[in-house]
């Protein structure tokens, strides 16, 4: 599963640490999600989407789509 978190973060000019603090997880987790090593839970995906004021579908894309 691909994601646009790095791009959205750059647009919003926030660091991985800022995003991690806003979502209540560690920086390692955000980094692992960005580099596609870890697929977040629905709750975390919704939290990330809320930070960027986007839908989960805008941030996360299934590879076969």
């Amino acid at each position: 599963m691909k994601n646009n978190i790095r791009v959205e973060r750059a647009i919003k000019k926030i660091t991985q640490q800022d995003l991690a603090d806003l979502c209540g997880v560690s920086r390692q987790t955000i980094n692992a999600i960005e580099t596609e090593r870890f697929v977040p839970s629905t709750v975390l995906a919704l939290k990330i989407a809320r930070v960027f004021e986007k839908t989960v579908n805008d941030l996360f894309i299934l590879e076969d789509e």
Binding site: V25, R27, T29, N31, A32
Partner: protein, 157 residues
């Protein structure tokens, strides 16, 4: 509430983890010594009470192993939980595979009277089937994987 928080902080501290790990190692050494020596020269004073001491040490060791294995990280989020669960799976799979391998070797050795399966092999089998050993391997696997992820993060900005 304050006491609860202090207790939780103490339980999560590195000091507790380290001391319990040392206790665990000491127990393993002690048990190994008792298992391997023909005449118990180790701690002769405790010998007559060894059954009780062993029971007490077993409780301590399993308790400490549980604490060491499942004490929370500073920030226990879903990535850490994911690593934890996958580490348990890896350890279970590896230990089961080893048990199957050793059982097959033992069966071959006894069935065909080849006798290549020595007492030491049975001792290894005994250790593999011990849950304490599983805890120990799990802690190592979990720590190593966590260390790799943190190290990788250090290199990426």
């Amino acid at each position: 509430m304050v006491q609860d928080k202090t207790l939780r902080e103490f339980c999560n501290s590195r000091y507790l983890e380290f001391s319990l790990a040392v206790m665990l190692l000491l127990f393993i050494l002690l048990r190994y010594e008792w298992n391997t020596s023909h005449e118990n020269t180790f701690l002769p004073l405790v010998d007559q009470y060894s059954r009780y001491v062993t029971s007490l040490l077993l409780v301590l060791a399993y308790g400490s192993a549980f604490f060491v294995a499942f004490s929370e990280e500073k920030q226990e989020d879903e990535l850490v939980r994911e690593i934890r669960f996958s580490s348990v799976t890896i350890v279970a799979a590896v230990l089961f595979a080893l048990m199957i391998l050793f059982s097959l070797l033992a069966a071959l050795s006894q069935g065909f009277r080849l006798n290549f399966f020595t007492d030491q092999n049975y001792l290894v089998m005994h250790w593999i089937s011990n849950i304490l050993f599983a805890f120990f391997i799990y802690v190592i696997v979990f720590r190593v994987r966590l260390f790799i992820i943190k190290r990788r993060l250090k290199n990426e900005e």
